[in-house]
């Protein structure tokens, strides 16, 4: 457990808060950052329409309990080109994607869509939380983000359901398909999942369900 915590700390080390206690230096801004986001995800260019009305951040349920999280600030930092600060901020992962801000934005800015895009750029740069990587690994191993466990096998049986659902859990050929697709998308490489290495797309072993 201790080892696990240490690993977690190491992983979290790169993820910082965005309290911004110091003035921004223009020399540290990266004007290509927003260009990159805009190009890859149509719709995010609407960030330029932001009126600074703060309707988003005052609607945000997360800001209500965690004032350090401010979606308007994150999005403004993106437009300014604060690449490192945005991609490394732990707050980037606080959004529950409830869409309240996006629904209420008078300018139609795709706030949540932009957050999702920023996250994927972070992941492409190797910045991801261990808990999220684990969910991704579960899907690669079992086909489910939340696979069955012993307790729920018993619950299913007691309810008169099959011990395992009629999903990838009971259809090994379906699990092979899932794994083949993830490999075709290079999703294994993205999250640093080693089990698929050295296997051809068709030659993936089907693991037993745990």
């Amino acid at each position: 457990m201790k080892q696990k915590n240490k690993e977690y700390e190491k992983m979290n080390h790169c993820i910082r808060d965005i309290s911004m206690k110091h003035p921004i230096k223009t020399s540290e801004l990266d004007p290509t950052f927003f260009e990159e986001i805009k190009e890859e995800e149509p719709g995010t260019e609407k960030l330029l329409m932001c009126l600074n009305c703060k309707g988003c951040s005052s609607s945000c349920p997360v800001t209500g309990v965690e004032p350090a999280y401010n979606i308007k600030k994150l999005l403004r930092m993106t437009v300014l080109g604060m690449r490192d600060q945005v991609l490394n901020s732990k707050e980037l992962w606080y959004c529950t994607t409830c869409y309240r801000c996006q629904e209420r934005c008078p300018e139609g800015v795709e706030t949540v869509g932009t957050i999702l895009k920023l996250r994927s750029v972070a992941v492409k740069n190797g910045i991801m939380l261990p808990a999220h990587r684990k969910i991704a690994e579960y899907v690669m191993r079992t086909g489910h983000g939340v696979p069955i466990n012993e307790k729920n096998r018993i619950k299913r049986k007691e309810l008169g359901l099959g011990e395992l659902p009629e999903t990838v859990h009971t259809h090994p050929e379906a699990l092979s398909e899932v794994r083949t697709l993830l490999k075709a998308c290079e999703f294994d490489r993205l999250v640093g999942f080693k089990e698929f290495e050295g296997t051809g797309a068709k030659g993936l072993k089907t693991p037993s369900v745990t």
């Binding site: 409830c98 309240r100 999702l116 999220h132 969910i135 466990n149 309810l159 699990l175 998308c185």
Partner: protein, 323 residues
């Protein structure tokens, strides 16, 4: 939400049940309740053999949109192959599958890219089916149809939780306003229960977007606020339409006690389970007794025999409807 002829046609067709992850693997009672109530309502449900994680709109979409679309499209092709619309019982699955279906139907380039991936497993996304959510589907079927099927009108005060991805983004979902919707409340009231208004009713449960695994304590603060508002309004139970919201409320109550020392003991039911109770099934037949949060006073209501639950004295209209 408007009901039209197309809806009526759709309600007669068989559906493939997309289970997702949390329902079958953490709250199997929701899977069972769904099968039971749909059968009673005369809606034919088929298993969707070999379906996988939708995959999760929070983590997967955040990680890699193309992988998210590809895996989701495979699930859609399973339903296409059966020639049936796909029924979800989870807001997260609904978000992923309805969004993917819509994106691939409207963006030929994205569809081509996804189909290139699907070719590796000999599948192709055609765009021939609809993705439905149980609440939206039953509303289209009509609350009146649900009401007519009820054999045990429930005398319960319910805190309805829509969950964000059932209705938002509204531009994609097309289920009306996200600020003050009523369709889910109408379905809840079709069981005889009363939907109780509470403060900040449309607020998020806290779980979505990968936030639960990123910052659990923070998300529990959101959950606690919702539970407190429902408690203040005097609800007997929470009714949701999403196993992930369900987990956040049910498992979350134990975690809230652990983190903040607050005890709520509010029972959490998926809509299929509430409807199951109204159709005469016992809490045990619907897996409600497997919830982490148990409330003996709530369960007792269903042990006292159906007479008291019928609430005939309190609600003569419902009693009349039944006959």
């Amino acid at each position: 939400m408007k009901k039209d002829k197309e809806d009526e046609e759709d309600s007669k067709q068989p559906l493939s049940l997309f289970l997702g992850c949390i329902a079958p693997n953490r709250y199997p009672g929701i899977e069972l309740a769904t099968k039971k109530v749909m059968e009673r309502l005369g809606v034919a449900i088929q298993e969707l053999e070999g379906a996988s994680c939708c995959p999760a709109p929070g983590v997967f979409q955040s990680f890699d949109k193309k992988a998210w679309l590809t895996l989701a499209s495979r699930n859609l092709t399973l339903s296409e192959a059966k020639g049936t619309d796909l029924l979800t019982i989870c807001n997260g699955c609904y978000a992923t599958l309805a969004d993917t279906n819509q994106i691939l139907k409207s963006e030929p380039e994205t569809k081509a890219a996804v189909n290139e991936n699907l070719l590796t497993i000999g599948r192709e996304f055609k765009g021939t089916i609809k993705v439905r959510h149980i609440v939206e589907f039953l509303y289209a079927l009509s609350p009146q149809t649900v009401r007519e099927a009820v054999s045990r009108p429930l005398d319960l005060k319910v805190g309805v939780h829509y969950g964000c991805h059932l209705i938002k983004p509204t531009r994609e979902r097309k289920l009306g306003s996200a600020e003050t919707p009523t369709f889910f409340d109408e379905l809840v009231e079709a069981t005889g229960a009363k939907s109780i208004d509470y403060e900040d009713k449309m607020a998020c449960c806290g779980a979505g977007g990968g936030a639960r695994s990123a910052a659990q304590e923070m998300t529990l603060k959101l959950t606690e606020a919702k539970l407190r508002h429902m408690q203040q309004a005097g609800v007997d139970c929470i009714v949701d339409a999403c196993p992930f919201c369900h987990l956040q409320f049910d498992q979350g109550q134990a975690e809230i006690e652990e983190h903040f020392g607050t005890v709520f003991e509010i029972p959490v039911l998926h809509y299929s389970q509430l409807l199951g109770l109204a159709l005469g099934y016992s809490p045990k037949e619907l897996g409600i007794h497997f919830n982490r949060t148990q409330n003996s006073a709530f369960l007792k209501k269903f042990e006292q025999g159906s007479e008291q639950l019928l609430g005939r004295d309190k609600n003569p209209k419902l009693a009349a409807d039944e006959t």
